[in-house]
């Protein structure tokens, strides 16, 4: 069996509102698949359907080759957005419970940062350590599939880097990882991305594949402030990166014309859009379907 998760044409509605619509997704062993999208794009609902916490209205879902409700839960590790730890229990008591639930006899040693607070209630330790504990608990039974919902929100950059080291180590050991995020830096760590907007999958592939579809006009000039004002006035989607203006998804000729109209001297060249710019363009085009 090579596919850990297979979802085909999944739709989940709440009343008239379709939180997830016609989504398809596969996760294979050893790969990190990122589910990227803004808040409310439907990422968490899709995860809940895959985990069997919600039933899909339409479509077909398999986890380890079985319907989600019957999937082998011993092979699944899950870190929910809220972490799912018992706040009143100590770090060690939380670990004991998870180990017992998964029938793990010999749990690996606690990382030193957690060992230092092993007897404290989880509610009293910092958020970074709580996330580390949730990861430790999710990995305790060496799952074949790791599902992470916004795993690093509210975590400082150093701790985030450490958590991503853990995620990569799991993938290298052969586990499949499905992770939702809205951080671009995190998305760039994934082997494959599925971008969701308004419940639908609007783009998929490696970061390079996705960004290759979009171009950005980059403006180099001494008069960077005047250039930004001119482009903004012309109604173009301009952003500032340092002293360089960037106009995503717009032909260099249009940018040059806008600058000429205000008499701002500048060099305009075209380069590949960043993932963030691509996301904004994808979001816009999904909001206003049709040629842009």
């Amino acid at each position: 069996m090579t596919t850990l998760v297979h979802a085909d044409g999944v739709t989940k509605r709440f009343g008239a509102f379709a939180a997830v619509e016609d989504m398809s997704l596969d996760v294979h062993p050893g790969e990190i698949v990122g589910l990227l999208g803004s808040n409310g794009a439907g990422k968490t609902t899709l995860l809940r359907v895959l985990l069997g916490l919600e039933a899909a209205d339409v479509g077909h879902v398999e986890v380890f080759g079985d319907p989600p409700a019957d999937a082998d839960r011993h092979a699944l590790g899950y870190v929910p957005q809220g972490l799912g730890l018992s706040q009143a229990l100590s770090v060690r008591q939380n670990v004991d419970f998870v180990a017992a639930a998964f029938s793990v006899r010999h749990a690996p040693a606690l990382p030193t940062t957690l060992a230092a607070v092993a007897d404290q209630p989880v509610g009293r330790i910092g958020l970074g350590r709580q996330r580390q504990l949730a990861f430790y608990c999710a990995l305790l039974h060496s799952p074949r599939l790791l599902v992470l919902d916004e795993p690093t929100s509210g975590v400082d950059p150093l701790a985030r880097a450490r958590l991503w080291d853990t995620i990569h180590a799991q993938a290298e050991a052969g586990a499949g990882v499905l992770v939702t995020t809205h951080y671009m830096q995190e998305a760039e760590q994934c082997d494959r991305l599925v971008i969701m907007s308004r419940g639908r999958g609007v783009a998929r592939g490696a970061v390079g594949d996705i960004t290759a579809t979009s171009r950005t006009a980059v403006v180099h000039t001494e008069e960077w402030s005047a250039a930004f004002a001119a482009l903004d006035e012309a109604g173009l989607p301009v952003t500032l990166a340092g002293r360089t203006s960037r106009v995503a998804g717009t032909a260099p000729e249009r940018v040059r014309a806008a600058l000429d109209a205000d008499g701002v001297p500048a060099d305009v060249e075209e380069e590949a859009a960043t993932l963030e710019e691509t996301m904004v363009l994808i979001e816009q085009s999904s909001r206003h379907p049709g040629p842009r």
């Binding site: 809940r48 359907v49 985990l51 069997g52 916490l53 919600e54 039933a55 989600p68 409700a69 082998d72 839960r73 011993h74 699944l76 899950y78 929910p80 957005q81 809220g82 972490l83 799912g84 730890l85 018992s86 706040q87 998870v98 639930a101 998964f102 029938s103």
Partner: protein, 352 residues
């Protein structure tokens, strides 16, 4: 300040539960206190037994019907004696039994009035009547000779404590799990929904059992409340009752998102139980319009059972009805609650 007031009203408008409490609770209190808050039992069920039963029956029948307390003659049996009269009182078939005397006995043929003291307010009304008859009758108050309020209250309080643990503590315990988001974590673990539900409820069941024993022993020790009946019958009845109230607690947790909401709803279910179960106001004294609500509440039947077993030593022959009703309530409420909780834990499984 105006902005603050407007904001508060807007928030209240969105908080349906609080609005329901603000509107429904005063109405409920008014109706309950209006119709149920009555300590005076104005009709007593009377049985007359013994050789002279017919003559005594005449006297009872001729008693003035416009008196504050009227007598409802339910049974006249010249064949029956003191033993049967006491049985009728123990089984709560009557409030008062009149034992017509034999002219040759020590009392010189005076009837003896036996009163059920476990039915406190009925017994008080009966005592007033007996006092009016002076030395024309002998009287004896059974089960609670000094008409101690604590003797009647302690068995009822045991039920109230079990209700408190079952509804408030259990619903808070379950909702806390939902609030913390650990319920969905449990759902993806290799634990069956049944073991999650039972694992979650069992500790509360055991704690409530412990409390029940503690309160019963303390009641007997501190207040001298007698325990005359079968501990087994009492224990079985209490366990069934506990399932019913735990079920209410679990049901509350399935309709509440926060502990605050759970406490609100739990209090709304506790209040009618306290007021309408007969533990404070006697059921016999309530207007029929609210009395039937009392009969829909588990606490009402537990109070009947605990007072019957503890004070009167009543056995299965008369206590089967409370046990059957409590069992039906427990099966219904606990069943619905577990089904709903299971659905919360594994919606995809429940849907299939």
């Amino acid at each position: 300040m105006r902005a603050m007031i407007v904001k508060e009203f807007r928030e209240l408008r969105r908080d349906h539960r609080t609005v329901a409490m603000l509107v429904a609770l005063p109405l409920l209190m008014l109706v309950i206190f209006g119709y149920a808050a009555n300590f005076t039992v104005d009709e007593l069920k009377v049985a007359v037994v013994g050789d002279q039963a017919d003559q005594v029956q005449q006297l009872v029948a001729e008693a003035p019907q416009d008196a504050p307390t009227t007598l409802d003659l339910t049974d006249v049996d010249a064949e029956a004696g003191s033993g049967q009269a006491r049985d009728m009182l123990r089984d709560d078939e009557v409030d008062v039994a009149i034992l017509s005397g034999d002219a040759s006995d020590a009392a010189g043929g005076r009837p003896t009035v036996l009163v059920d003291g476990s039915n406190l307010f009925a017994a008080q009304s009966a005592s007033v009547l007996v006092a009016q008859l002076g030395d024309r009758v002998d009287s004896e108050i059974l089960y609670n000779p000094d008409l101690e309020t604590s003797w009647v209250m302690v068995p009822a309080i045991i039920g109230l404590i079990l209700t408190f643990i079952g509804t408030i503590i259990t619903s808070i315990g379950l909702v806390r799990e939902r609030e913390a988001g650990t319920l969905e974590q449990l759902a993806v673990m290799p634990l069956s929904p049944t073991s999650v539900v039972l694992g979650k409820i069992s500790p509360y069941f055991l704690l409530a059992c412990f409390d029940m024993v503690l309160v019963t022993l303390l009641g007997v020790w501190l207040f001298g409340v007698p325990f005359r009946g079968s501990a087994l019958l009492f224990g079985i009845g209490a366990a069934i009752f506990l399932f019913a109230v735990l079920g209410i607690g679990v049901l509350i947790s399935t309709v509440s998102q926060t502990t605050g909401q759970a406490v609100q709803v739990a209090l709304m279910t506790m209040l009618p139980q306290i007021l309408l179960s007969g533990m404070i106001f006697p059921l016999d004294a309530m207007a029929a319009g609210v009395r039937w609500i009392g009969y829909l509440l588990p606490l009402t039947w537990f109070v009947k059972l605990s007072q019957g077993v503890m004070l009167r030593g009543a056995g299965w022959e008369s206590m089967w009805l409370p046990v059957v009703v409590l069992t039906a309530m427990a099966v219904l409420v606990f069943g619905v609650a577990v089904v709903r909780l299971r659905r919360d834990i594994a919606p995809a499984r429940g849907a299939r």
